[in-house]
Amino acid sequence: MKKKFGVLLATVLTLSTVLAGCGGKDDSKTITFWTPLTGDDGAYMDQIVKNYNATNPEIKVKHVITADMYTKISTVLASSKGVPDLAIIHADRVPGFVKQGVLESMQDTVLPAQPELKAENYLPQAWNTGNIDGTQYTVPLDIHSNVMYYNKDLLKKYNAESFLDDNVVTIDEMLSLQGKLDEGDYVVNDALLGWVILAQIQDLGGDIQVDGKPAVNTPVFKQAFENVKKIADAGLMTPFGEDGYLMFQSQNVLFSTDGTWSSTAHAGVEGLNFGVTNVYSPTPDKFTNRSSSHLFAMLKNDKRTDEKEVGIANFLEYVRTNSMEWAKAGQNVASNVVNQSPEYKDYMQSFFTSDEKEIESLYIYTYEYYPYIAEAVDTYCADIVRGNVDIDETLATMQKFVEDKIAESSSAAK
């Protein structure tokens, strides 16, 4: 019995050693790169990394698609083990991460190693969103926006093609179709409704904060909700609870307010004759496409060597000059070399970098507590727009919601 147990134990120990050996590969020549790109875009990023590694760089990049990445980031930062060398984070995470001291500046490390990694070579808001108090923490990959697709055939059918003349479809223009649509057809869906509301705030000249304090219960917010509610009240918005995105693809909706990244999915729908324009606005003078940005960032990690930081700089420079692949994912590539190239014009989203006014329309919120405001808007917007709740009361609730969360998270960070 004793002998048998000894043999068993020896086998287990041997197997453990062998398995441990599998994971013990020297990682000083590998840049571990985490992304939250779990959709089709992950495959495009994979290809970019593969292409880069094919250039035989001294330090190769290992792309790890990480579902629920922010949760895992919290875990690895708390334990200081397994922190990736490079990660893609979203623009609205930067202020919070910087405040918590978990982002490594790129200013004195990565950027000097590749002089072309500089503001002039990127879409301005994508670059600026990574700049906190004069320090550059990120290098941008893209801007991804809430935009508005239109069904060309339906616009023709309802004689509404003129709506696109000035590239701004106004709420009044949409309302002009009241009573003119066949049963089952709608003017616009409610895809990314929260993003649409946040765009309206900008269109109305407002903001989500005043002097660093959240400003949700304001006349501008109320006006924004009321403007969008007019469309729903007129029966022109897809019914609450229906999948408006699919209804656009099934050609029952004139306009769909979803993301730049959806163009590839829409293009896969047989017979869907569509184009893209700006998200609807109350006024033809101002239009906003609420946006975010994927940014390359380095989380604080003592084990990251100078050599690796140079390797990261080389990879980012490669991406800057070779990221046409990323355009295939439907995103607005942040690198000017790419977004100004003739080849880029073949991609539908190039509309949003076609002139200064369009570039300006890609608005990224950088308020530190933007995520809480977005959460509040997403939680309550459908019910406000559908008239299920009292707007004044709900705005007060939303304001309290944001303030409570800020108070709790701020005191935790002290």
């Binding site: 609870g241 229906e242 999948d243 209804m247 959460e375 998270s409 960070a413």
Partner: protein, 292 residues
């Protein structure tokens, strides 16, 4: 003479004990500690005593108070609707499958069990398409004009449907295994004494499977309190947050859109754990006493 120690049982039990300690026990203890802190996962927890609990339980103006009690109420609604069905339907199916005239028992059992193996995300996508007014079966085949996820009670109905679809198989297997152990002589004697099928069911079947019944009732209830995937995927908590269950709020606070509020989330999780503990103990006490 030196007593020989038999290490073999430890060798088999040890890994489980280690895994339990590392992945269940320690996180639970740390979670209880975290519930007394303000913590955002990134920085060190700051001890605040009962502040989180006070805000959740007694501060009527606090968002966390509102979220906790709204989430608890919605969770209780789900428990009250789903648990009886998750007990009664599998029991009825198991009893029916024991009947001699029923053919292809294994096939039926497999068909009922397989949905439980499908991930909740995939299942939700399937059922959302089925219930889609424009594109789904309910709209196109049956002419239903109901926007299911957007109106009550339909939102609850689709959540319960997907829960039953995935949940009845597991309990049914337990009941079938228990029913196979009931002595046939008892039924034959009862039949000779003139007992009808209902009398046989209540006087022989139910008492004979008392412990599996208590087990499934307690475990199904505890599981129902942890409901998360179905409302998240089917209704995203709507309409008007009426299906926003407590686990959704807890997760949102811990790993939500903004900075984490893990201390508050832990306090809510501990309170939910206490609710489950009390209800499970009550269930066990009442059922065991009645059965005795």
């Amino acid at each position: 003479m030196k007593k020989k120690i038999n290490w073999a049982p430890a060798f088999f039990v040890g890994p489980h004990v280690i895994l339990f300690a590392v992945f269940i026990l320690l996180p639970t203890i740390y979670g209880i500690y975290a519930s007394f802190t303000k913590w955002n996962l990134m920085s060190d927890p700051v001890w605040v005593g009962f502040d989180n609990y006070k805000a959740i339980l007694f501060d009527g103006g606090s968002t966390f108070h509102t979220q906790f009690f709204r989430g608890l109420k919605n969770t209780l609604i789900f428990v009250a609707m789903s648990v009886p069905l998750l007990i009664i339907i599998p029991l009825m199916v198991a009893v029916a499958l024991e009947h001699k005239k029923v053919k292809m028992k294994s096939l039926i059992q497999s068909i009922l069990y397989i949905p439980g193996l499908i991930s909740i995300s995939a299942a939700a996508l399937i059922w959302l398409l089925i219930f889609n007014k424009q594109l789904g079966i309910t709209g196109n085949l049956f002419g239903s004009q109901i926007a299911w996820p957007a109106n009550q009670p339909y939102a609850w109905i689709i959540i319960i449907v997907i829960t039953l679809w995935g949940g009845i198989g597991g309990n049914m297997i337990i009941y079938r295994a228990s029913l196979s152990g009931v002595a046939q002589e008892l039924y034959e004697s009862a039949e000779l004494d003139g007992a009808g099928s209902i009398k046989r069911f209540t006087s022989i079947t139910l008492p004979s499977i008392r412990f599996p019944l208590i087990y499934t009732f307690v475990m199904t209830t505890a599981g129902a309190f942890n409901v998360f995937g179905q409302p998240l995927m089917m209704t995203d908590g709507g309409p008007r947050q009426s299906t926003h269950v407590l686990m959704m709020y807890i997760r949102q606070l811990a790993f939500g859109n903004g900075e984490s509020i893990a201390g508050m989330a832990s306090a809510m999780a501990v309170l939910l754990g206490l609710v489950i503990l009390v209800i499970s103990a009550l269930q066990y006490y009442v059922m065991n006493r009645n059965a005795s």
